[in-house]
Symmetry: C2
Subunit: 172 residues, 2 copies
Amino acid sequence: MTAYKAAQLDTVKPSRIARAADDEVGGNGDLRMGELSDLLGYALKRAQLKVFDDFLRCVSSLHLTPAQFSVLLLMEQNPGRNQTEIANALGILRPNFVAMLDGLESRELCMRVRSAHDRRSHSLVLTDRGRATLARAKKLVATKHEARLNEVLGPANRAALLQMLTTIAEDF
Amino acid sequence: MTAYKAAQLDTVKPSRIARAADDEVGGNGDLRMGELSDLLGYALKRAQLKVFDDFLRCVSSLHLTPAQFSVLLLMEQNPGRNQTEIANALGILRPNFVAMLDGLESRELCMRVRSAHDRRSHSLVLTDRGRATLARAKKLVATKHEARLNEVLGPANRAALLQMLTTIAEDF
DNA sequence: TATTGTTATACTCTATAACTATA
DNA sequence: TATAGTTATAGAGTATAACAATA
């Protein structure tokens, strides 16, 4: 393998770190978490739930889930692509993408447009409302959600974390 | 906030990193992922799915899910605790814990024992088979699953990642 | 009255097979 | 025949209300 340079961590919430070493992490009254404190998958899951919760909270005024946000984002970045392409890019199965699009389309955030070249497929395009909503969502995500993560982790560590997660997602 | 020392990352899969900068991450043919490549929540979710998949694969011979593994682990670390306590510690709702325990108990990995002090509650205890299965699971997780993560990330970064995820789960 | 385990239930996600209309 | 979108369906995971036994 190729190694990252050692990521030297210190001084963040030493009390927490101490408690982790004590094997009494987690705020569960006083249950011992044992090897669970060292399981990357367990930490990953708990962190993911927290982050998604915060995302929903930060963007609640627009009524967008993380999944819906990602779909709108991809439509903006890839105008004219069809359902299969957008769904595949996000790891959403085509059958499950239908109801999701129905929801976004009924809120007039996007449209399905029959392709002229291949009348089987639907080109997906953002509406003006969709573009505006996405723009507002991006601003909320950046200034509230990601900003909070930056506060907790620090910018350099946030970047390191993103890098490692991406490595796992792609090269693991 | 208190900062981690900068976690300096480099040289892991430069081609992937370059593609990330190119905004064409993800193996989606050629769709642009846009700001998604920078969303911590998105990276977190994808990494979590990969890691859980690998966990299942590594431990498939024992037919244990991550959730089941975590329950057995907590029973071992906290013998005699009741359902509510174990479930709470793992963020599992008590009603949903019932079917889960039914499954583990029917495989004779654990037992519900009516408490003498409070006849409403069930003390949870591992059976010998449960202890043996857990021991084998731990070995598989350590030598196959976590070992692979260590290869991909390097030990220092694996530790840094765990630390940051725990920080998010607890202090975010 | 409160709590433990439980049932029932519902809603979201995810996954697969099969249909239709086009190609 | 193959593909795009769709329907139907089934299985996990998660959430809440309410009940019986016990405290």
